[in-house]
Amino acid sequence: MKNILTIMKKELRRFFGDRRMLATLILPGLLIYVVYSLMGGALTDAVGGGGEDMEYRVLLHGSSDMISAVTLNSGVNITYYRCPDCTEEHDRDTAATGISEGSYHAYMVIPEGFDNAVMTYDPAGGLPAPEVKIYYNSSDADSSAAYSTLLALLNALESSMANRFDVNVSPDAGFDVATEEDLTGMLFSMLMPLLLIMLMFSSCMAMTAESIAGEKERGTIATLLITPIKRSELALGKIAALSVMSLLGGLCSFAGVLLALPKLMGGEELGAVDASIYTVGDYAMILCVILSTILVFVSLIATLSALASSVKEASTLISPLMLVVTVIGVSGMFSGGAAHLALFLIPVYNSVQCISGVFSMSYEPMQIILTVAANLVTAGVFVVVLTRLFNSERVMFKK
C-alpha cells in the first residue's frame, strides 16, 4: 500500500510540476466555454426535427376555409384533428399537456368568422388584425418542426393578402409551451454524453500514454522494475494517479460545458436553458458515473500503452479505440431511454446512457448502480492484465 502511494505521489508530482501538462488538463474545459459562448445561438437552428414524410398532427379550434386550402394544398402532410366536445378554446396548459404527451404536435386556434374578418379588415383602421394562435413545444423536435411549417405557410398566406391577419402576436401568451426543464433536459441529454465521453477519453489518453509508453520508451520503467515493489503496486499506483488527474481534467471540461451550454443555445436572455434545474443528487450521480468511466478509460489505455514500445506507437494503438468511443458517445444523442437493464453492463455505453438519462431526468438508480459496478469490474480486469504485462519481459523490454 505504501508503495502504491509512493508511485502515485511520483506520478502526481510529475504532472503537477509540469505546467504544459497541467495546461492540457485545464485548457479543453476553458476552450469549450469560450468557443461555445462565442458561437452563441448558432446551434439552435440545427436542432431540427420533422423530415420529408413527417405527418404533422394539428389540433384545430375554429375553422377557416382559406387556411385549410392553403395548408392542405401545400404538399405538407398535415392532419387536422378536432376535439369533439370542445366549444370553448383550450387553455394553454391543456394544450401543453397534449403536445408533451405526443397526441398532437401543435394546437392552432383560429378565431370565429376568421375568413370574413380578414376580408373586411382595414389595415389603415388602426384596429388589431385577426390573430391565429399556434401553441407548440420548442424542446420537442417534431412539434418545433410542425410550428415552423405552419408558420411558414401562414406567413406566405398573410403576405399574399397584404397583411390582413397576424400569427402569434399576442404579447406574453406563451405560445411555446416548453418548460425550462424540457428544454434544458433535451439539450443537455443530447450533447452532454458525447462531449463528456470525448473529453474524458482525450484527457486520459495523453497522460496515460505518456506515463506508461513514455516511461518504457525512455527506459525509466526498468529502473522501477528492479526495485522490490510488486508489479501490481506499480500498476495500481499509476492507474490511481492517472485517474485523479483525468478526473480533474474531466471535471474542468464538465464545468466548461455546463457553464457554456446555456450561452451556446442563446438561452441566457430567454432564461430557457439553465443547469440549475438539476439537484445535487443528479450531479452526484454524474460524478459517480464519470469517475467509474475514467477508471475504465485509464486502465484500458494503460494496458494498450504497456503493449506499445513508444508514445507514438501507443497513440496508433489507441486511435481506433477513440473512434469506437466517439460512436458510442454519439449513440447517446439518439437513445430513447428505457433501455434494457442488461445494456447497462456494457462499459462506456452504459456511461453514455446514464449521463443522458440523468440529464433528461429519466434515470433509475439501478441503472447507475449497474453502470458503476460494471465499470469497476472492467477496470479491475484491466489492472490485472496490466500487472501481467509489467511482469512479462517480452512486453517490457521489447525493442
Partner: protein, 258 residues
Amino acid sequence: MEPILTAQNLRKTFTLSRKQQQMEKTNQKVKVAVDGLSFTANKGEIFGLLGPNGAGKTTTLRMLATLIRPDEGDATLDGISVVKDPDAVRSRVGFLTGELKLEDFFTPNYLFDFFSDLHGVSSATAAQRKAELFGKFGIDRFAEVKVGNLSTGMKQKVSLVISVVHDPDVIIFDEPTNGLDVLTAKVVTDFLLELRERGKTVILSTHIFSLVEKLCDRVGIIIDGRMVACDTLPAVCGGLSLEDRFFELYKDCKGEEA
C-alpha cells in the same frame, strides 16, 4: 571464502524476427544468448565478467538482477533463487546498467528519496546516506537540478548512487565506466574498491582488460554465451597478460584468428 552468488547452468534464448535473421544472415529462429553458464562469486570480492560485445554478459547480469528470467538453470543469491523469489532478490542487489534510465523531469534529491521509499529505507537512514553519497560524488551542488539538465558524467554518477540507495550486499554493474571521461571513471572505480573494502560483493561486466586487471579478484571469460575460463586472475592468465590469454582462449574457442 564464502560464496554469495551462484549461477548454475543459466541459459537464455531470444526469438529472432525475420529482419533480425536477415541481418545476422541465419535461418535459425532462436538465438542463444547465454548457453549453460555457471559460476560462483564470493563474498567481499570483485568478480569480473569479461567478453566481447554480444557474448552474453549483459544478458547474464540482467538474469542475475531478475530483470529477465532464465529459460533454464537458476542463480541463487544468499540462497534465494532469482527464479522463485525475484522480489526478495531485488531488495538485496543493486543493478546499474545503461538500460536503466532516470526520469529527466526529476531532481537527484527527489529521485533518491523516491527510490529509498520503494526500497523501504527509513527516511532517517535515507537522509544520512544521501548526504554521504551526494558528498562523495559531488552531486550535492546539483541536487536540485533536473536530471535532464545534468551532464552525461553527472547523470551516470546519479544513476550509480540511486542503484545503491538500499545499501545492497551484492552490486551488479554492467560496463560501469562506459562513456565516462577518465576523471569520472576513476571516481567510479574508486567507489567499487571502497565497496569491496566494506565487505560488499561486486559483479561487473566489461570488455576492457585493464579494468579487470586493476579491479577484479576473480574473472570469468565469456565467449558466445559460454564460460570458457573462470578463476582468480593469475590462475586464468597463467603467466601471460590478460589480453594475450584472452586472444588465446578466443582462438581455441572459435578456431580462427580473432
